[in-house]
Amino acid sequence: MGLAAAWALASQLHVWPSNQAAKQEALECIAAWMYRFTPRVSLQMPDGILAEIEGSLRLFRGLATMVERIRAGVDQMGLTPTLAVAPTARGAWWLASAGQETLILDRAVLETALATLPVAVACDRPDALDLLHNIGIATIGELCGLPREGVARRFGQALLDGVEQALGRMPEPRNFFAPPLRFAAKLELPGEITHAEGVLFAARRLLVQLEGLLAAHQAGVRCFLLMLLHRNANPTVLDLRLASPCREVERFMQLLRERLSAYKLAKPVEAIRIEAGNFVPLHAGTVDLFEGSHAESEAWVRLVERLQARLGSEAVHGLGLHPEHRPERAWRALAAEERPLCGDESAGVRPLWLVEPPRRLKEKGGVPLDGGPLEMLAGPERIESGWWDQGEIARDYFIARAPSAALLWVFRERGTTGGWYLHGMFA
């Protein structure tokens, strides 16, 4: 039916041009996701995917289970597939394009099933199709009944070859799809969204696709970008980082949930986009001989991820030593996975709490006060260092007892300024 005819029937019809690029993007995402079932996936432009599944049937426990898994997976991406299975690729494609969701394993059955299909699935030239209609040929069975020479002369050899390929009498070489090495997918939201849950719901669809692509490469990612696209403003970009490479949708979602819960959507979101590159090889977890320790460190890694998603990446750190005489530089905050270095352990007695930055103490007659005059128990330990990097210090450290019985680590600034500071507590 032409556009004019459609408008004549329904005047209030809205027409959107089909977005070819988006269609292909979606198709490639599904193809990449299908890689989990078989390495032989082929695109059938403009809207089909063919996959050879016979070799994988045993792994996925039979045809029916496998087909259901494929359907459930594509459903999760927000698309509704028409699935057909046949002994030949073209046969399956014709069945699916005719809307027949059948599982055929036998060639004889395929032949009878194909015979009832309309010729439109076999022929994509409109003029040839018109001609076939005019001579009263409606199904493929009727087409096969015509004399072969005449058909070849009028409609081209390709039409006949197609039928032969569908029936499995002629080989049909195909190009297999190679999944791309980065992921970028966009999802238009049905309406403008102002709350984080809506974004989460939509993001899930894209993340399922991402997982599929990663599974095809046996890879994981350490980070991905979520872009919130607004109507008349620059997109908001959220950078999500994982503590270890991962490809599970649930873990991506958990991270996203924490991040979005702390995030206020300033403007309504029209569409979302997820991008990921830098795939890292990731192998499925092997069973640990000494169970427990691995699961535990895995749990810890995920915990760190959640904490960092909400509190910021600086909020979780390890402690390491650093070979330095200046007390404030004798330690290092380590990123979650960094291992501590060996430091200088020859330093003197050090407090468990370091007061950062050092707190200026009041003094009376040269004696520092902290709830009363401090009594010096040991010292001084002179630390002079750092003339080379602007962080020069010249201090005399003492261990002092406060009236509260607390033991404090205090220092007196040497030189002209003088002054007493509290720098630590022996807790």
Partner: protein
Amino acid sequence: MKTSLADILSQRSVWRGGALASGHGRTVPTGFPTLDRELPGGGWPTGGLTEILGQREGVGELQLVLPTLAALSASGRRIVWLAPPHLPYAPALAKAGIDLEHLSVVRAPGRRDGLWAAEQVLRGGGCHALLTWFRDIRYAELRRLAVAAETGHGAFVALFRPEQAAHEASPACLRIAFEPAPEGLSIRILKRRGALIAKPLSIKIERPVHALAGAPFPTPCARGPVARPCSA
């Protein structure tokens, strides 16, 4: 359904007055024999809250948990310091025998973030000791943490709180209060699974001045021109 008295008594939630509950629930040794003797199970409880109450800082309160932390870290168990009031100083911790590799600090500036993080740590697993500092925390929030600790993976949870909290009710399974004493710390057990104990315990803890016996600092080994020996 028939339940025998023994069954009921074997549950962790029931304790019999007059006797120290023992053998119920796992514990980790405190490293102080005097304290271990008075604690049910002979150590800090795991899978429950332990409150450590005290007003003063710098009197040796961290020393109370250091032996436990050193033992846990030596066997590769993870320790989390959540929202500490000051910076835990790595050189001193290393010197106290704690393997820094298994130690993590989580900074949570707000009270709500702190509670959330504590719950995540307890429920998430992968952590065997959690030290937290809360200045004010309500009963309902404590209760939430206690449930998280029970359902979690059996971590030792120490909550450092101000002394005034001793007057408030708490779902913690162990509450102790410390005071500085000449020999170290004087500990009162405010609540434990078992009969109450009125007498304070005195615990000897290591203070830096003991180690030095009041003498001036030993000269740190001179390294290059920047670390000059003391002249005072």
